[in-house]
Each structure stands twice: as C-alpha cells, then as structure tokens.
Amino acid sequence: MKIAILWGIALLPLTTYAQDQNSNITLSGVVIDAQTKAPLAGATIHLKNTTHDGLTNDKGEFNFLTGQRLPVTFQVSYIGYKQAEITVNQRTGIVLALTAANTQLNDVVVVGYGTQQRKSLISSISKVNAGDIKDIPQAGVDAQLQGKAAGVQINSNTGTPGDGVFIRVRGATSINASNDPLYVVDGVFINNTSLQTVSTGGRATSPIADINPADIESIEVLKDASATAIYGSRGANGVVIITTKRGKYGMKPTVSFNTSHGWAWAPQLWDLTTGPEHATLVNEFYRNSLADATAAGDQAGITRYAREPFRPVADGGRGLPEEQQTYDRLRKLFRTGMLHNYNLALQGGTATNKYYIGAGFSRQEADIRHINFDRASLKINLDQKIGDKVQVGTSNSIYRTKRNQARAGDGPQGGLLQSALHTPTYLPEVNADGTPARWAGFDNLDVLINNYDVNTTSLRYVGNIYAEAEIIPNLKFRTSWSLDYNHYDESEYWNNLTQLGANPTNGLATSALTQNTTWINEQTLSYRTTVATDHTFGVLIGNTLQGNKQTTTAAQGTGFPSNAFKLISAAATRTSSQTSTKANLASFFGRVDYNYANKYFVEFSIRADGSSRFGSNHQFGYFPAIGGGWRLKEENFLKQSDLISDLKLRASYGITGNQNGITNFASKGLWSGGTGYPDNTAGSDQPGTYPQQLANPDLRWEKTSQVNVGADLGLFNDRIGIEVNLYQKNTTDALLQLPVNAISGFNNYYANAGEIRNRGYEVAINTYNIRNKHFTWQTSFNISGNDNKIISLPVPVTYYNRDWVRLQQGYSMYSFWLYKQLYVDPQTGAAVFEDVNKDGQITVADRQILGSAIPKFFGGINNNFTYRGFDLGLAFSFQYGNDVYNLNRFFGEGGGTRDANRVLFASQLNRWQKPGDITDVPRLTAYGNNYTLEQNSRFLEDGSFLKLSALTFGYTLPKDLIKRAGFQTVRLYFIGSNLLILKKYSGPDPEANVTAAQNVQGLDLGTPPQPRTVQFGINVTL
C-alpha cells in the first residue's frame, strides 16, 4: 500500500504541466445527435491536452472555462455514439454533433475495477445489454443470458422458476471447487451458492434469482486471463459483472413503468402406457420369467412367476388386462401457470447528484402445481458530487423472494412429479374405502397437490457505499464498503395426510434459518495520463479484505396434535441443530497498462490472494496476467481502407485461481461432535467425538493458466463486426475430494490432484443488415465450442446413485459410465452388451465411458427488426452433441421387473416379442442381463437442440400522439419463449437435470420441463 503512495507522489510532477496556463476563456455550446438533431444530455466532453472533463446538462448544453487558446479540440463521447474529436475556432454557439455508433466497438465496457472502450480492449469480454434480455421470462439473469454471450454455456435444468442454472464460462475447470463464475454486482462479490437445506429432490434454488433483471443496465462476462486475473482467486471460472442502473447528472426526472402478464405451460409431456397395456406387459414379463426360471431350474423363480398377476379377480388376480382402468395423473399435476411482472423506476439527477429508484414485483407460476416464485425488490442508487474532486455514492438493493417449493426431482417420499409420472397408470387414486391410495412408495398425488407446504423466503440486502476522490488530477482514490446479507428462511410441513407426516409420524415440520453474510472493504488508487500525445499510461493498485460467515439453525418436530398445529413448539418430539462456518480473504492487486497512439496496447496485472482456507504455508496465491493488442486499423496501410473499418489482434496469458466450493476448513484434520452414545442402559446419550476429516496441510490454490488469442474485425463502416477468440485453459492442482482407501477409516480428503484442460473457440458476428430511416435489421450470431478433458486424475471418481457419472483420466467431465448395449438379438430377444475385456461375461470391467453432457458446440442467433414503431426480435439458442441420460425412461422401460412399483412408458411396447423382431427394447424377463444390468447405454440420448428461446414483438406509439398525454414513450409488446424446439431427445426437455451436484449434468429424472410461455406487456415512460 505504501508503494502506491510513492507511485502517486512520483507521478505528481508529470501531471501539473497542464495547469500553468493563464488568460482563461469560456467555451459554450450544445451536443446533439447528428441525425435527429436532438440534444444529448449527459455527454462527456473532454478538452484535448487538458485534464478538463465536463458533462452536458439536460438540454445538451455545456459551459467550459479553460486556459486553452483557440482553436481547441473537443473529444466528445456518449454511450451508443461514436466518440468524436472536433476542433472548433469559436467560443460560443459551438455545436458538437455525434453519430450513433453502428456496432459495439465504441461501447464502454466494464472491466475489473474500471471501464474501457471496446476498441482499446485487449481482453476477451462479452457484453450483454440488459434491454436485450430483460423480458425473457426467466427468474434469474443467469438463465436469461443463454445464447447471448459467446463461450458461455447456460442450461436451465428444470422448469422450476428461480432454481439453479448450469453456467460454464469456457468450460469446467474444477472437480470439487466451484465451476460457477464470480458474480460482481456494482462492485459487490455476491454469493451464488444456494442456501437451501430442505430437500426438493436434489435441486437447489439460485441466489442469482434474487436480483431483479429490470434494475440491470449491462452485463459483462470476463473470460480470458487478462480480464479475470485482477480478480485472482475468484477469476478462474470467468467473472460476470452486473452493472445496475444509475441516474445521470443533469437528467430531468423520468418515470418508467413496465408490466407484463402471461401464461406458462409444458410444451410436451411423457407418453405412458395405458392400464391395459401395462397389465399386458407385466403378464408377458411373468410368462417369460417363468419360462426362464423353468429352464434354469430355479425353484424360487418358478414359484414367484408361476401365475400372471393380471388374471381374473375371482382367481386371486388383479383382473384381466382389458379390465384395467387408466388414470392420467400428469394432467392433474400440470397446469397453465400465470406470469406477472411489474416494474416502476424513477431516474434523474441535478448538476451534483443523480439517483435511480426502482421497485419491482414478479410472480412466476411453474407449469406444475404448486410451485411458485415471487420476487419483490427495491433498488436505490445515489451519487453525490462534493465539490469538483470528490464523489460519494451508494447502491442498495433489497430483495425478497418467496418460493412455494415441491420435491420435483429424485426420491419417492413427497416427490411430486415422480408421484404423477412414475406411478403405474392402472393404479387408482383412491382405495376401495375411498381413502387416498399410495402406491410403490410414492405419495398420493391428490394428497400432495392439496397439502404441499414447503416454503422459502429469502430476504437479501446487497449494497455498498463508496467515496471517490481525485487527489491530484488524474489520480483517483476510491474506497468502498460492501455487504451481501441473506436471511434464508425455510419451512416444511408435512401434515398427517401426507406420507412423510402420516401416522405414526403424525406431522413433520422443519424450520431452517440460514444467514449468509459477506462483507468487503476495498481501496483502489488509479492514475491515468497521456504523455507527449501518444503515450497513454494507466496504473491501478488496490486491496480487498473480505469476510464471509454462514450460520444455520434448524429445528424439526414430529408428533403434532392435529393438522391445525403447524409450528414445532406443538410437536411431541423435537430435534435441533446448528452449524456455523467462516472464511476470510485478503487480497492485493495491481494493473499497469500502456498504449502507444491507440495502436499498440500492453497490459500487466497481478493479484495476491490470501485465504484462511489453506494452511499457513500455502495461504497466499499469486495470479499474474499479461496481454497485448495491436490495432492494425491505426496503421497507415489500413487507415484509408473503406472495407476494413476496424482490425485488432489480441493475445493474453495469465493465471487465475480457485478456492470456491471447498469447505472452509478443508485443510485441517478435524474431530467433530455429534456422535453421542449412552454410557449404560439407564442413561441417555452422552457427548461423543470422532475423527471427521483427514488433514492436508499441503492443500493449496487450484490454478488455471489461460492463453487467449483473438481478433476484432469491423467491415463496411462497422456494419459487420466479427470477434474471434481461441483459448486454452490448463487447470493444475485441481481441488478434489480425492477418494482414499476405505481401510483408512475415511472416504476421501481434500487434495490438489488432477489436471483439466479446456480449449475452444468463440466466434461472434454482429451485423447491421439494413439500416434505413424506417427499417432496421440487425443480426448477432455466436458459436462456441469447448473441448474439455481430464488430463490427469489419480483415481476415477463416480457420482450419483448407481454411479451413472464418472470422471476419468483421458475423458471429459460429465461423462456417463455405462454398459454398452450393442443390439437385441432378433432370435432370442436378449440384449447383447459389449464385452470389453472379452472374458465371456459382462462384469463391472465392461462398463465404459459413453458420451458426455458437454456439447460439441453451442451458441445463439438473434435477429432484431424495427420498422417505424414496430420491433421484432427472434432469439434462438442451440447446443449440439451433448448427451442426456434419460432416467425417466430408464424406469419407464424397466421391462416389468418393477411390476406395480413403476410406470411403464409407451416405448416399452416396442419390446422384442418373437424371433425376427428388430428392436432395441429387449425381451421382458427377470433373467439374464436384459433388465438387470441397470447402467444400460440404451437410455443415453442425443441432447442437441435448437430452440426459439424468445420471440418479442413490440409497437411504440408515435411520439406526437402520446406527448399530449404527457408520455415520453409508450410501447406495447408480446413476448413468447420456447415457442419452438427442434430436438431428438425423447423426453420433454433436453436441458433437464435432476441434481444441483456440480459434477452431474444431463441426468433427466423427475424434473418439470421448462415451460412455453406467452406474455403481453406495456412499457411507459413519462
């Protein structure tokens, strides 16, 4: 830190030369749009060769007092317009006209601890304007980004609104540390790990869904090392910088109001057998099994399969197949959910302050009963100038999200979708005596629908205060304090009608309160100057202290007097628990950049992070990065080119780290309590302790080095903008819960083991196809491919029940570990599996990695049209080459082995029946491998898709019409999502995934599909 001050003092003399002038003059004028001649309020005006900056007022006017002499050169910039350099030779009545920018090249891009113009950017950053995504009916801004940013793969794994989203920036780099990007909202590193503790069948809520997308101004995704290394240990998985709306100095108060309403429903459901079909199949299964049992001389089998279960009731059976009824449970569960959205904002400013106040409410009902998501938000951003040199401000967001939850995922007890989908269709919903029937371990669907009572309320504050001072010209000091506080209140109540709360439990209630607090204190000192016209330097140094604490207090009660009592205080049996964990991070960082004549750019940054999670010898990690750029357009040979309006080559290399996702005390050998035991038969539990975790004092940072080369090309006056990036990321010392041999008494320990490589390409193309006075057509297209490979891993690690997923050296992550069904023998109907080791039998040794949930490429195509007041947007997203393991079908094509315990899918009807049948669905039998070898490749399906993720159609009313009513703009719009999907996958949603576990992706079981939605809305500003 002291070094920083020395730096500042050393640079002092260099910057004072501009001030020793005399005989001041006043310059005044107006900044306008070159085409519309409308004044531009809040445009930045800089007098070249001075340190003077000014802003236009709400009439676009400016006033300058300067010591410069005429002629003077203005550098004028305004968001969405090309920066202009205009030399004038008059003092008053100056008119500075700006032309609207065609492409994003002149955009201001938010980078770590600062902003840059895109044309001088040498790192790889995708910027998404909030206007492009804010109407997409997803609860979280992360889900809205699908198909919008090159290199960012996003999948919504479920139709439950506000649930976690799978997001990977340039592939997955880690196994047990987090793979999610760092989210920075107005400088606050916000928590994006779910605080959920109650079970919803494996899925978890998303903390990102707390944020109201309507408050967002822009989103930048930082991808390469030169962009992310300034975030050091937080940067390995990319950084998503979210900038919320602020007022503008000199802007008159503007009120905007937006509301939309619509419907959401599932576009496709599952195709199930009818009752008679189910019965026929099960009888066939019994017949075949009996034949096989007899052939094998298996006495127990002969007894078990002696009689078909669907035989006349009089004969002790369940009735003949044709007597069976069909009960459609899916129709009962699925519904058309309602979507409502309201946002109100006030924005403006005076010469010395600016403000943004936004309030919003949105309600999203899922396509299944009774999952709802409500969010209310309040946002207050204020900035105040104190004199010329000092600015203070604050950002404040208060969010309240309330969720009606349900177990829409794995697990029978209380599993909502499983109860509807996995209960055989022939089974009635009520018993003969009229009581609700429960089958196969699943709860009764009506009972669940009517009695579900699982709620979560998340109350969250994200905010900061900052002060910024220009100590000497161009040397800025900034300090800020930030807080992300989340109070997460969960309650579950299973009354005595539900299976979980039924007699003998007599009501089961859980209450869990989790509090997560992150505070951050940060100082930066930055200096920027241009020397001798062409040499521009920038220096930034800073430090951050960050603390995080998370506590959970939970209580559970069973044995309630009646369903009228819902609080644990009324329960006969009560248990409670408490956990608390804490981590600190201390960081120091710096960045130096230099450019010569906006032609050659070089940048170096470094961050040192110290983490309390590691042993004292490994606490600090150092994360440097270097990048360079060459803007060929500035060279003489291109300067005059009409074809090429911009060309820049970029390269960067750097190292980022990762420590997220591991537990706070992962390096320590721990003994825990919680193993109480009585000392004798007369006594109750006395405290006990046990060795809980193996120490690893060598545990250290996971490191990812990344090299990126890229090019930015503008053609035809920037009507076509192309950005290409190639990258390779090598992760070493991967943080891993490494299995340890069980004879040690432990299952695993945290270690740095393994290497993962990601390499890929990203291409983004933006074109203005047509740009007339009345008609515009703009297209943006992006495509990315990422090749992920585990370069080294000491032992393979498997995940999920039945070890569906396996990480293994030489293969990609999210790979499926299966027995490969080659074909079904047309003569015998037996499934033939690949005998990998040729030992004549199918054993574990024959399981192999077949397919992965990682796509070969993915991206988006967005087209926007405007014609007079009309606008039309078509946003497609696509993904190709990823596999999905269809676990619903795995159960639904169980061949009758589960008899009355599971549904049979209609696809089961394609089973082999007689010699000569060509099918991949084997003969129904309990014997052999046909249905007992569970990890069958038959259920692995192609998950590629192309979908129309959003269609927007809007009409903005003519200005003169509404002006009389006092409106500035009025826009009516329609938005539809998921209106169209092309896929091969047999289930409804190829993006489905049953769990929030980070190494499992592409397992479709019991989650509701993403809905198709239509909404109508109106947007008014006054």
């Binding site: 830190m1 002291k2 001050i5 127990a300 007894t303 029978p412 196969a440 371990g441 100590i471 299976q499 979980l500 003998p504 439990t505 100082q523 430090n543 069973t558 408490q578 964990t581 804490k582 600190n584 201390a586 110290g610 983490s611 004292s616 706070n664 320590k668 050998g669 721990l670 003994w671 825990s672 309590g673 193993t675 109480g676 035991y677 009585p678 000392d679 004798n680 539990d685 006395q686 405290p687 006990g688 302790t689 046990y690 060795p691 809980q692 120490a695 690893n696 340890v740 069980a742 004879i743 008494g745 432990f746 299952n747 270690a751 039945r802 070890d803 054993t843 574990v844 315990n901 599971r902």
Partner: protein, 449 residues
C-alpha cells in the same frame, strides 16, 4: 493531502499487520488436531469411546446395511423395491459395484479406525482423573469393537487388510496386502484376548464388558469349529442367569418399545438424535416405510406355522391390503429400534451346536429346547447328532430371521450348496468394493468377481 496520506497509510498498514491474524480462522463446530492431539484427558477419552460405539451403530454397519447383507443373502427375504442392488444379494449375484457392499466395507473400517485411535492414545493420557481402571476399560472397549469388526469383515469378505494404527494422513494405509482368512481370525482372537484382560466383568448391554467379550468369543470359536472353547465361553455367559435370560415370550425382547432386556448381551441403542433408519426398509408405506424388502412366502409359511415358528410369528405382520412385512424394526417416532448384536438365545444355540459336535446330545437338546420352549414350541424330536444339528440350523433360521446370521450360518456349516442351491463357491464371499480395488493397488479382488 498530508492528512489524507496519513489516514490512508494507517488504514493500509493496519490491514497488512493484522493480515496473518485475519487469515487464521478456527472452526466452531469441530476441533482441529493440527497443533495438539485430541485425546488428552478423561473427558476427551470417554467422548472418543462413545464415538466408537456410534460407528458400530452407523447405518452402514449395524444400523442397516451390514445386517441386511447377512439376512438378505439367506433364504427368508424377497425384494420388492426399485433398487436392484438389493436383489443381487437375494439371487447371490452381487456385483463389485454394489453400493451396499461399499457402504458396509467402509463403515466397518471407520469403526476400526476409531478403535485404533483409542487403543493407541488412551493408554498414554496423563490425566489423574483418568484412572488406570478407566484406561483399561476404554482400551478394552477399543479392542472389543476391533475384534467384532474384523470378525464381520472376515465372515463377509474372507481375509482382509489389517490396520492396527490410527490413520493420520491420507497415505497411511496404502501398501497393505490382504491377510489370509486365518490371519484375520487370528487378529480377532488376539483382540478378544486383550479385551478380556482389560475389561471389568460388569453387566452393560450397551457397551462391552468382559462378559460381552465371552459372548463374542463363543461365536468366534463356533465359526472356527473349536467346539470345546465355544461351549466354554457360551456357558460362561449363560451361567450369569441373574443378568442374561431368555425373555418370555419371544417378542418380549423387542415388542412394545422394549429396550435392553435381559435377552441382550450386546445391543446398540438409538434415540431421537440418532434414529435408526432400519425400519424404513421393512415397514410398508402404510406405516411410512418403503418395504424395500419383505419376508418371502416360504418364510411367512414357516414363521406362521405354530409348530415351527411358535410365538416368533410376532416377527411378521400384515397390512390391511394383505401384504406381509417384517416387524422386528417398527418404532416410528422417533425411530429408535435397537440393533441386536448378541442375544442370549444365540449363546444357547452356540452351546447346543458345540455340544452336539462334542457328542453331548442331551446337553445340546436341552439348550436347543430352551430356545424352543421360549418360542412356545414342544421339545425337539431330534435324536442323532446330525438331526440335532439340522434342528439347530432350522431353529437359527427362525430365531434370527431378520438378524445377520442365516447366510453366515449356511456358509460356515458348508450347507449353502444344499440349502440355497448355490454351488459356485466364489459366491461364498462378497466382492471387494470395485472402487477400493481401483484406489488401492495392493488390494486384490476375491476370485470370480
């Protein structure tokens, strides 16, 4: 400017100075053994011993999984659920990637590691409050649990890797080859002998005493076909009739919420805080369970036959829809069914079997009939040694229907081929978990897996 610099340096300096302290964060819900050993005084020794018993009662060990391996592999149970890993036991076709196998294997070694900590550390504690007698007791309990654990490993998997030291680092337990079955059993005996010498001859059904050691030793000698010793040790426990007796009727040791009856020599208790999930697999959905497995038709017929099952028919019950289910583990709320590790009935039947082999047929019959009479059955009509042995075998099938005996009994008496039709002797041991084979180059898989 000067003031600003001053304030700024102060802030920066303060943050640097306090950095080390800032990054030193201690856990609040666990203690770290980084700088100091954890077992250091009386309190820490006794809490560690309680943690040891909680390992024995864990889900993977005597809570559910290990017990299930013992009874599912017999001939009393059918599978009715969705997880076919259960069916693998019933059809004796267990695969090396069976999750129950992996759970039980690691749960048993967890208990061994906790025992090793106690055996290694408790004797060295210098706390005046931790008297020599207490030290002996705690260490003896460590030896007893370790003996039980290796015994269970040996009868399930054959000879296994033997580890006798606490695990300190992740690399500690590599390069250990499997011991032979004889060596593994030798370790069991050595631990039993050590426990015998250290433990007091008190009565405690929840924790090991010298009498618990005798009871397990009787079983050990039975498995070794050391009949005289088996008779001797079983007899020592039976002799303590003031403390151990066959409770009347059969169901008295578990029904109506009974715990720690005179029937139990070693029983593991559960509580609201530490519930036993075992009931979930047995009880039908109507009772809030999954009935993942259930007594099969053959067993239902036997246990309900008044001449065979007697009052042991209390082991099963029927739902209103007519589904039979096992009812030994039934306590709903809280789920506090004990795990019955050693019951006095077993000691009677051990002694009966030993006596039959030793030619003491009347003694054998008398022990057998003690168990039969408690079940409300007439005395056995068996006369020859072979008949008596068969009668004992059948008696054990009913008496311990839902406890982990039947499978191991048929293996040790070499009757699995006859009774279960299981002729492939590779299947007489379970496969070593596939993940362990992968993870440990010195660990060899059992033949045929």
């Amino acid at each position: 400017m000067r003031t600003r610099t001053y304030i700024f340096s102060l802030l920066a300096g303060a943050s640097l100075l306090s950095c080390n302290k800032f990054l030193d964060v201690a856990p609040e819900d666990a203690v770290s053994d980084e700088n100091s050993p954890v077992i250091i005084d009386k309190a820490s020794a006794e809490t560690a011993v309680r943690g040891l018993y909680r390992a024995v009662s864990a889900d993977g060990y005597y809570g559910t999984t290990f017990q299930a391996i013992g009874y599912l592999s017999g001939d009393n149970i059918q599978w009715t659920g969705s997880q076919s890993i259960i069916q693998q036991f019933i059809s004796h076709n267990v695969r090396a990637d069976n999750a129950s196998i992996a759970n039980a294997w690691s749960a048993i070694y967890v208990a061994i590691n906790r025992a090793n900590h106690i055996i290694a550390k408790v004797p060295n504690v210098t706390d005046p409050l931790l008297t020599g007698a207490l030290k002996n007791q705690f260490t003896g309990e460590g030896y007893f649990v370790r003996a039980l654990a290796y015994f269970d490993l040996a009868r399930t998997w054959g000879g296994v890797q033997i580890t006798l030291t606490p695990t300190v680092t992740a690399g500690d337990k590599y390069n250990i080859r499997r011991s032979t079955l004889a060596q593994t059993y030798a370790q069991v005996l050595s631990d039993l002998v050590a426990a015998d010498s250290l433990l007091p001859a008190t009565t405690n059904r929840y924790r090991a005493t010298r009498k618990t050691v005798w009871a397990l030793r009787a079983r050990y000698h039975l498995y070794q076909e050391q009949w005289a010793a088996a008779e001797d040790y079983a007899g020592r426990v039976i002799a303590d009739s003031a403390n151990y007796k066959l409770v009347q009727p059969y169901s008295a040791f578990f029904a109506n919420g009974a715990v720690a009856t005179s029937e139990s020599v070693f029983e593991l208790p559960y509580s609201t805080t530490y519930p036993n999930t075992h009931r979930n697999s047995w009880q039908p959905p109507a009772n809030n369970g999954t009935r993942q497995w259930a007594p099969n038709d053959a067993f239902i017929a036997l246990v309900n036959d008044p001449a065979v099952g007697g009052n042991r028919s209390a082991l099963v019950a029927r739902t209103s829809a007519g589904l039979w289910y096992g009812n030994l583990y039934y306590r709903p709320n809280p789920a506090t069914d004990p795990s019955y590790v050693i019951r006095i009935a077993e000691e009677y039947l051990i002694r009966a079997e030993a006596r039959a082999h030793l030619g003491n047929l009347s003694g054998a019959l008398s022990d057998l009939n003690a168990v039969r009479s408690r079940a409300g059955l007439a005395p056995s009509e068996a006369t020859t040694a072979d008949d008596i042995l068969l009668a004992i075998e059948n008696e054990r099938r009913l008496e311990f229907a839902f406890e982990p005996h039947r499978w191991f009994d048929l293996l040790r008496t070499k009757r699995a081929a006859t009774v279960l039709g299981l002729t492939n002797s590779d299947r007489y041991v379970m496969p070593i978990p596939a993940a362990e084979i992968l993870n440990d180059a010195s660990l060899e898989q059992n033949h045929g897996y």
